[in-house]
């Protein structure tokens, strides 16, 4: 069953100069237990989609549902919880435990079960020593963990995460990525994650939906999107640089060649009739000392930029 359904979603924001279209017939589905990345530049419509799915924003047209429940109804909160805008979702004057118990209670969880879930999440997120500390005294990373724990304590099957790693250091970001992956693999949660951090998305999501100017411009598995832009490009590290004569000889055989790192490396895109052996032969004939050769693979950031620019 689909956990989330977004069909022909339209959102116009009223302004003095007339309505501004933020979403134009956006459609996608998220299956149960999937982690899907929602990508887009600033103003592409990611947060608008997430807020409509939370029931916090009224769509102008179209349909948004969680487990068949329209997101305009309060009951949708039985299925969906969210971490919105980083760590702004917690009460700064309440301690870690008090926040967790409050949000469990807000969901309608009985006190005993709320205490059990609180203890479990405090342990899982490594917040034991800070469990009685008020949220305003926590570090940014801990606030972020607490905000995620507050979304989890509700026990909903769907989790919407808007910029969950915003402002985090590399170590905490990696730790949080592991936790997000565990949500799907260990607990079967459905996660829709919006982030500008491509590393987080590539590391956690199996599938991505890319938005540009309020429209879905790509919706596919990450490996398929990477394959779209895979080329026959190779990067060659040079032991002694690239003398002018060698460069001229290589350029005659391999027109799509460019030097990198102050001529300590070069990147070559092989034409269809040549293979990597032909490249090695050309390098040997030019008298170039080779340190290493590797295939140039596009990462999600390249793919995202090229799709948004309309290259595919």
């Amino acid at each position: 069953m689909d956990a989330l359904v977004v069909a022909d979603l339209v959102k116009d924001y009223p302004t003095r100069k007339g309505p501004v279209r933020a979403l134009a017939e956006v459609s996608f589905r998220v299956g149960e237990g999937e982690i899907v990345g929602l990508l887009g530049a600033n103003g592409a419509g990611k947060t608008t989609v997430i807020k409509i799915l939370c029931g916090l924003l009224r769509p102008t047209g179209g349909r948004a549902e969680a487990f068949g429940v329209p997101t305009s109804r309060p009951e949708v909160a039985r299925y969906v919880s969210a971490l919105l805008e980083g760590s702004r979702n917690v009460y700064w004057r309440l301690s870690v435990e008090e926040n967790l118990r409050f949000f469990a209670g807000l969901q309608g969880v009985p006190p005993r079960e709320a205490r059990r879930r609180t203890a479990e999440l405090v342990a899982r997120f490594g917040l034991e020593e800070k469990r009685r500390t008020t949220a305003n005294l926590l570090s940014q990373g801990m606030k972020q963990k607490l905000a995620l724990a507050c979304a989890l304590v509700k026990g909903t099957p769907v989790l919407l995460l808007d910029e969950p790693t915003l402002g985090l250091d590399v170590e905490t970001s990696h730790e949080l990525r592991g936790m997000i992956r565990e949500l799907a693999t260990g607990e079967g949660k459905t996660v829709l994650l919006s982030s500008h951090d491509m590393g987080v998305v590539e590391d956690t999501c199996r599938r991505v939906v890319i938005l540009a100017r309020g429209r879905v411009v790509a919706d596919d598995l990450v490996p398929n999107l990477l394959a779209l832009f895979r080329t026959r490009a190779y990067r060659v590290s040079l032991g002694d640089g690239l003398p002018a004569e060698a460069r001229a000889r290589l350029a005659a055989q391999l027109p799509a060649l460019r030097t990198l790192d102050g001529e300590r490396a070069l990147e070559v895109e092989l034409p269809p009739e040549k293979d990597v052996y032909a490249l090695m032969d050309a390098l040997r004939e030019a008298g170039v000392a080779v340190d290493g050769v590797s295939r140039v693979e596009p990462d999600l950031e390249d793919v995202f930029l090229r799709i948004v620019r309309g290259e595919r």
């Binding site: 939370c54 209670g105 309608g108 969880v109 009985p110």
Partner: protein
């Protein structure tokens, strides 16, 4: 049962926040008492000059001040709290309760009303000690009267909170309303238009219950009916205004922006 657990969570949070800042809580009570002392001193001085500033005497001053205090606490607990929630980003989370935001805010009002009763009892004790006048507190009469008297203030609080969701910075307007409440408490409630205004009639009826020992059975039924009608009218209009502005905020995505 879900509703009960949500209600419990909201009351517990209310109490935790109250307990976490005891100095703030005590200073609020002290400020209210000091303001009363200034009013009381002024009233006694005026009485010494042969001027009766309060038609119903000191009992009128005590009851009027009590109602005004209750109104201010009720109003600020609701409207300031909603603004604070929007400011810190937690209002959206309250909207994401399966029990609905209306239940959440109603629970908040009940918590605020119950805690305000403790405040009012403490302030009443201090005021009686200061004035030397003993006022009655028949719970069965005073509680329903108090609830009906402040219900319009909750309505106004809802309407203001709705305005704040959309227009954001309206604190100056909030503060002006506190002075409007003084006028409403002091207004005569004999004329029909006086009975139709918030606070005026309720203050008079509470005065009769607390100073003269009248009960719900002895108070004029038409006045009680007018009080209930006014309470329902202002509360419903306030909630309706809030819903209109809530809809605008949901259309424009303003629930979290401040």
């Amino acid at each position: 049962m879900r509703y009960l657990w949500t209600f419990r969570a909201i009351v517990v949070r209310f109490l935790i926040e109250l307990k976490r800042y005891p100095l703030n809580t005590l200073s609020s009570l002290a400020t209210l008492y000091i303001v009363f002392l200034i009013l009381f001193t002024g009233a006694r001085y005026a009485q010494g000059l042969g001027v009766n500033l309060f038609g119903e005497g000191l009992e009128g001053l005590v009851v009027g001040y009590l109602v005004w205090t209750f109104a201010i606490i009720a109003y600020s607990d609701l409207s300031w709290e909603l603004m604070r929630e929007a400011q810190q980003g937690t209002l959206e989370q309250l909207y994401m309760s399966p029990q609905g935001f209306r239940f959440v805010s109603a629970s908040w009002i009940v918590a605020s009303f119950l805690v305000s009763l403790v405040w009012i009892a403490a302030l009443l004790g201090l005021m009686m000690l200061t004035t030397g006048r003993v006022l009655r507190f028949p719970v069965g009469t005073v509680l329903p009267l108090l609830l009906l008297t402040v219900a319009p203030v909750y309505g106004i609080g809802f309407a203001m909170a709705g305005l704040a969701l959309v227009y954001k910075r309206i604190q100056a307007f909030f503060q002006i309303l506190q002075f409007v409440f003084v006028a409403l408490v002091a207004l005569p409630a004999d004329a029909p238009w006086g009975k139709a205004l918030p606070l005026a009639l309720g203050t008079r009826l509470l005065g009769r219950a607390m100073a003269d020992g009248e009960t719900l059975a002895t108070l004029p039924p038409l006045d009680l009916l007018a009080l209930a009608g006014t309470a329902a009218f202002y509360l419903l209009v306030g909630v309706a205004v809030f819903r209109v502005f809530e809809g605008i905020a949901k259309d424009r995505g303003l629930l979290a922006h401040y």
